[in-house]
């Protein structure tokens, strides 16, 4: 069996279902590959080894028995370290949850296993999702498989690197302000952030609840459609999940984009872009025009305020969401304190990393008496204006297009001392997050030194079908996604 690791999730599922390949061999090949290659990249925090093989055996046994196999039967999937799986360690990239084992399983993981997927291992991330480079992990950084001296992006950098290095065909991430799309762009893979509420957040360790979305990364658009069909749906355990039907995601195999109006907001397609990113994006726009799409110049006037708006809201919610890590019930408790209050203070000071503490402090400030209206309150009002901008622009076009990240993968350590430069990495992804829109990043080129460049699509709420169909055509008509970081 050659090169199982280069196959897509869709192809692997087909082979397992037809009996041409055993699930055990699929899982075995990925585990071997992780053991062999991941020490160089540190995409994984750990893998389930024998337990994953046992799950694969169960799929093979079921198939031998003639039982119905789920749509993801035998497909090994990695998940970000902020999704809880019963009995397994989940640390959200933080010292605070070092060794924490969850007594329950996240809905999005439950749906995967119910569909026959094999949970392979846990991927690295910026602590609690706070970062754009995976350098804020308490367990050390992840390296970009295309350029090991560069970051994979973040915060789902472990998942992006794992998919790019073909250590798994599909990996789950989470996207609060771009944490799936930006690492997908920097690692040359496809990343989908569904609409807010489309996939249950139950079991996703919260960073900013009104923005958090479970997403996925893969090497093809088709694989993301396969995943979304399994993952989407209302969940009683998540009151913010939506019951809207999922329009048909079957790729229609059309070869052109005639009749599709693609909006290009100038605010997201010019200022602050690296030259090669701008050039690749322009080339993509030309290619899309060549495929018959109508390119619509448009504007999102309030998008200039998206980054400060995003950070005010995300940090305020984070300060509240992270208050539960107090050393009382679970997680790290520092010894030596004599009073409850001191125990909490010491545990939090030692358990949280620098960036997390910075965001908790800023978030607390933004909600304080006397400042709440000025900061958090104003941010929520701007958020509404931004939503209105999107509603208005979606009257003129079907989808929006921009680069995913203003920059390609940057060297490790080059931005850690400049939080503001790091926050600006998110300038192009946070608008869709604030508006709850579905968005997708796919490869659209490379820098001359071989670093991937990503293209971002945004669609109206709950129109993942549009995203996936158009991205699928672009993918089939271009060859960017066929390049591999590793053989």
């Amino acid at each position: 069996m050659t090169d199982l690791h280069q196959l897509s999730a869709t192809a692997l599922a087909r082979l397992v279902r037809s009996g041409e390949v055993r699930a055990r061999d699929v899982v075995r090949s990925f585990l071997d590959r992780i053991d062999r290659l991941d020490p160089d990249y540190h995409a994984f925090l750990d893998h389930r080894g024998g337990r994953a093989l046992a799950d694969a055996d169960a799929v093979d046994t079921a198939r031998a028995r003639g039982a119905d196999l789920g749509p993801l039967a035998g497909v090994p999937i990695a998940w970000k370290d902020n999704l809880v799986l019963r009995g397994e360690v989940t640390s959200a990239g933080s010292r605070m949850l070092d060794g924490f084992r969850s007594p329950y399983t996240a809905t999005c993981l439950q749906r995967l296993t119910a569909a026959g997927a094999i949970l392979l291992g846990r991927t690295n991330m910026d602590e609690f999702g706070m970062g754009s480079s995976t350098e804020n992990s308490a367990y050390g950084p992840t390296r970009n498989p295309w350029r090991p001296d560069c970051v994979p992006g973040g915060s789902s950098g472990g998942s992006a690197a794992a998919v790019a290095a073909a250590l798994c065909p599909l990996a789950l991430g989470s996207d609060t302000g771009g944490s799936v799309r930006q690492p997908a762009a920097l690692c040359g893979v496809v990343g989908l952030k569904p609409s807010y509420g489309r996939v249950s957040r139950f079991g996703l360790i919260a960073y900013a609840s009104s923005l958090d979305c479970v997403g996925a990364l893969a090497r093809s658009v088709e694989d993301l459609a396969l995943w979304l069909r399994v993952a989407a749906g209302v969940d009683d355990a998540d009151p913010t999940s939506v019951a809207a039907p999922l329009p048909g995601l079957e790729p229609d195999h059309r070869d052109d984009l005639r009749g599709v109006r693609i909006g290009v907001p100038w605010e997201l397609n010019g200022p602050g872009l690296e030259d090669e990113v701008a050039a690749s994006t322009q080339a993509a726009i030309d290619a899309l025009r060549g495929l018959g799409a109508e390119i619509v110049e448009c504007s999102l006037p309030r998008v200039a305020y998206a980054v400060p708006t995003y950070y005010l809201i995300a940090m305020a919610e984070a300060a509240s969401n992270l208050a539960r890590y107090d050393g009382v019930r679970y997680g790290a408790r520092s010894s030596g304190a004599r009073r409850c209050e001191e125990m909490t203070t010491v545990s939090r000071s030692r358990g949280f990393g620098v960036e997390t503490q910075l965001r908790i402090l800023l978030g607390t400030f933004g909600l304080s008496i006397g400042y709440q209206q000025e900061y958090y309150g104003k941010a929520t009002r701007v958020r509404e204006l931004l939503r209105a901008d999107f509603r208005q622009v979606f009257g003129q076009c079907d989808l929006l297009l921009s680069p995913t990240s203003p920059v390609a993968a940057f060297p490790l350590g080059s931005r850690v001392d400049d939080p503001l430069a790091m926050y600006l990495c998110d300038a192009l992804t946070v608008p869709a997050s604030l508006a709850g829109l579905p968005a997708l990043s796919q490869p659209c080129g490379f820098t001359t030194d071989g670093r991937p460049i990503g293209l971002q699509w945004m669609a109206p709420p709950l129109r993942e079908d549009l995203l996936l169909q158009v991205a699928h055509v672009f993918e089939r008509q271009t060859d960017h996604h066929q390049r591999r970081a590793l053989s």
């Binding site: 924490f100 305020a316 208050a323 539960r324 709440q372």
Partner: protein, 478 residues
């Protein structure tokens, strides 16, 4: 005290009578062993989300309707952020700017009422026990559903506060919203009190009183605080804005926290919970479930049954008592007779029991049959009580019990005559007194006959026979 007007406002937390917690499926109700009624959601484990309990929302709406409040069709949950070891998430889910109910009132019983500012829904915290080995955390109570009822500063005396709480409790119990047991903590009260010179309209500096675990404690603590503040003001002092804890044993309050050190709770809308939308149909259902409130029932008992005020108060203290009484009336018993039976027989028997009145072992139909036997003259009052006690224990039909107990009223003069003669012989002094005109001395002789017949003798016949035997006239008309 005559120089000052007292201003009191109460904030009352009431635990809703649901089967499960406000945002988790963990059971509520009586608390078990520590930390045995705790779901991952109550623990605030990483990744959990609150799951609103529809039954709790319904009861909160019912409470709002019972208190004549304005139910808001759209309200919001908010996070109240603070650190405390009994607060698992580091914030309490409550309501802040957009409560489920605005306005409302509680009658004070004398025609006045106290306005309410609002009623909102929130979750309870856990419990800490400080001991030698450290601080113990019990999260059984964490996440229990509460409504907080915020009263306007309309109360003017500690007795007003007592009346407010008494009536509030009665209404909420009637509505089936809560058992409102202050001793067990299902109703908790904080009181704000300030004094101002008589005639002034500007409220003085208020003090918040906590740790008030019964209606009596609320009144005692307020009386103490009224005296304390009056003494300070009379001596030219200033009242410190503070929270004071009531110590009932010592009979005094002690400072707990000054208002300057009050934490900044950083309220903001809970992003995990969409706005709480209440459908008009749900409000209608709760209005129906609400049934009749105590003040309305009292008015009806006055006009429909013409009962004495005392009877009305006793019969309407709890919805179940009135329901039982009305079942007797519906079964055909005359209202005052039904009231008498309820007050003098049913309620004393119920007090010995632990099950609800609705499960009382004698049904209204059985009791009706008994009352009819008495009405037909088959049973004396004393015998009827004996049959009732028998039915309590053994059940069955009243008539069968009467025969089984041999309690049929004795009206046969041939049977009674020798008993009357024996009683006169046994009580010669009484007989002399009666002959000398002291009719009241007859009671002793009658009592002797009643004892001899276990209360079965027809009192009128005994009276007639006795008068004949003693040679005095018939009884004066009553």
């Amino acid at each position: 005290m005559t120089d000052y007007t007292t201003v009191i406002g109460l904030e009352v937390h009431v635990q809703l009578s649901t089967h499960s917690k406000l945002f988790s499926p963990a059971p509520s109700g009586a608390l078990g062993e520590p930390n045995t009624r705790v779901h991952a959601i109550d623990l605030g484990l990483p990744g959990v989300l609150p799951r609103p309990n529809a039954a709790a929302i319904e009861l909160a709406v019912r409470a709002a309707l019972a208190l004549d409040g304005d139910v808001q069709t759209v309200s919001r949950f908010a996070r109240k952020n603070y650190f405390y070891p009994d607060l698992p998430k580091g914030y309490q889910i409550s309501q802040f700017e957009e409560p489920v109910c605005r306005g409302g009132s509680v009658p004070l019983g004398d025609g006045r009422s106290c306005r309410l500012t609002r009623v909102h829904i929130e979750e309870d915290a856990g419990k800490l026990t400080h001991g030698d080995i450290g601080t113990l955390v019990d999260l059984n109570r964490a996440g229990m559903p509460l409504v907080e009822i915020v009263g306007e500063p309309d109360l003017r005396t500690p007795a007003d506060a007592h009346a407010f709480l008494h009536n509030l409790r009665e209404i909420l119990r009637y509505a089936g919203v809560s058992d409102c047991d202050m001793e067990l903590g299902s109703m908790r009260c904080d009181a704000n009190i300030s004094l101002m010179p008589v005639g002034s309209t500007r409220f003085g500096t208020k003090v918040e009183l906590k740790n008030l675990n019964s209606l009596k404690m609320v009144q005692r603590a307020l009386e103490y605080e009224e005296r304390r503040q009056a003494a300070i003001l009379a001596a030219g002092g200033r009242i410190a804005a503070e929270t004071r804890g009531w110590n009932d044993e010592a009979g005094e309050s002690r400072p707990q926290r000054s208002k300057e050190s009050a934490p900044d709770y950083r309220y903001f809308p809970d992003p995990d919970l969409p706005p709480l939308v209440i459908a008009p149909a749900m409000i209608d259902r709760q209005r129906e479930a609400l049934g009749e409130l105590p003040q309305h029932r009292r008015a009806r008992y006055r006009t429909d049954f013409q009962l004495p005020e005392h009877d009305i108060l006793v019969l309407t203290q709890e919805r179940a008592v009135g329901d039982w009484f009305e079942a007797l009336v519906a079964a055909g018993i005359e209202p005052k007779t039904a009231s008498n039976w309820t007050m003098s027989e049913v309620l004393p028997a119920q007090r010995q029991r632990t099950t609800p009145l609705a499960e009382f072992p004698v049904s209204p139909q059985q009791l009706c049959e008994l009352v009819q036997l008495q009405g037909r003259g088959a049973l004396t009052q004393v015998s009827a009580r004996k049959v009732f006690q028998h039915l309590l224990v053994h059940g069955g039909a009243a008539e069968a019990a009467m025969h089984e107990l041999g309690l049929l009223r004795i009206v046969d003069r041939d049977v009674l005559q020798p008993l009357v003669d024996a009683a006169i012989a046994a009580l010669p002094e009484a007989a002399v007194a009666v002959r000398a005109g002291k009719e009241r001395a007859m009671d002793a002789i009658k009592g002797n006959v009643m004892r001899a017949t276990q209360g079965r003798a027809d009192p009128a016949i005994v009276d007639a026979l006795l008068r004949a035997a003693l040679g005095i006239g018939s009884a004066p008309p009553a």
